[in-house]
């Protein structure tokens, strides 16, 4: 399955039975150089819209929201030591966390790549 995108500039990718979450290139570019990432605890249950990670650039702090209800099953510890990965490879190496959700069909509510490209103009 392909990537889905939220209005908060997060991307979601299904990987087996989990959803991988990161931020888009557009978001990384808008934030500027990322200098700090705080990740959620593994095995935390989150509800859609919860603040579950923090990303700070040279300019400001932003929250990463849980895009879905579910459980955090993995976090990308590499970002803690190398926050600059978010600027270098936002769609790949700089994933933030993986979530386990009950029903993958909830991803249908989010944009596909074309719709997201229209959003960011």
């Amino acid at each position: 399955m392909t990537m889905k995108y939220t209005e908060d500039h997060e991307w979601l990718r299904v990987d087996g039975d989990v959803v991988v979450v990161g931020i888009t290139e557009h978001a990384a570019e808008q934030l500027g150089d990322v200098v700090f990432v705080e990740l959620p605890e593994v095995e935390t249950m989150v509800a859609k819209g919860d603040d579950c990670a923090v990303i700070e650039s040279v300019k400001a702090a932003s929250d990463i929201l849980a895009p879905l209800d579910g459980e955090i099953v993995a976090v990308n510890e590499k970002l803690v030591d190398s926050p600059g990965l978010v600027n270098e490879d936002p769609l790949g190496a700089a994933w933030f966390f993986k979530m386990k959700i009950d029903d993958l069909s909830v991803l249908d509510q989010y944009m596909d790549e074309d719709a997201y490209k229209d959003l960011i103009g």
Partner: protein, 375 residues
Amino acid sequence: MADLKRTVFYDLHVELGAKIVPFAGYEMPVQYPMGVLKEHLHTRSDAGLFDVSHMGQVILKPKSGGYEAAALAFERLMPVDVLGLPQGRQRYGLFTNDAGGILDDLMFANRGDHLFVVVNAACKDQDIAHMRAHLSDACEVIAITDRALLALQGPKAEAALEALVPGVAAMKFMDVAILPWSGVDLWISRSGYTGEDGYEISVPESQAVAFARALLAEPGVAPIGLGARDSLRLEAGMCLYGHDIDTTTTPVEGNLTWAIQKARKAGGAREGGFPGAARILRELAEGPSRRRVGLRPEGRAPMREGTVVYAGPEGGEPIGAITSGGFGPSIEGPMAMAYLPANLKDGDTVYADVRGKRLAATLAPMPFHPTSYKR
């Protein structure tokens, strides 16, 4: 952005790919395509060119007499020794109010028969009004509106400017000189706001863009935006007016007692005689109750302006707040300035409330990154 002003370099910023933001009433470049982090590091390793034309340039010309007349008048507004500044030298100054608070900080230079003053962009209109109100008996207060101001900072600044303007390499930190380039006079000081060696150059607007392009063509010179200017000055431990000092902080609380020379202190040749002298002289004698200090957070999380500081990891009332904070690219970690009780010392630990969690930070000497002035 309808009523925002532009400096003479606006089109050049856009051509260089700058991201433009409103700042102090101007549309200014916050960063170029290099990005804040690399611009910061480039300034420390090579040379950075900054547009600081939004700042106010003012000449104080004595109505009769020479420099001494202008200096004595100017001393009425600042707890600073203006009279004792030698010709061709620049010094840091502060306008104070009757309560001892700081109205603005500035640079002034002795140019023989007059003073040249550079003030902050956000304060320049009120500063000029303040000087006109209090100095007009002795000085003509001339706002310079037809000159741009550039800062060239970093280890390659000297070679770059010397290539265009022979003679600048012989200047020392805080020297000022008037030197020709392409038929116009440049007003040059060897100073800046980054902790690096470098220059600030006032250039007539007619030649300003050509001069900036000539500097950008020199080896190692890159345009640098306001984002990196802020992280560079914070690493250098320098105050940003309106954040780290303002009308509610005195120079003593602001840890700027080094800017108050002996002549203006108790027992000095021209003791007191500036706004707020009673409080400022008392704080010099007895010590302030709080003071601006440097903080190094223990983890990686930046502690931003407004973050509340506590003595312990839980409970208790706030003991102060952070006035500037962010990530220092050269020190590769977070840094901050805060006002805290004056009994705390370097090495002491305090706790800052970051998103509801108390994170430890250590009082640390400033500058956070060593300065490299040409003394």
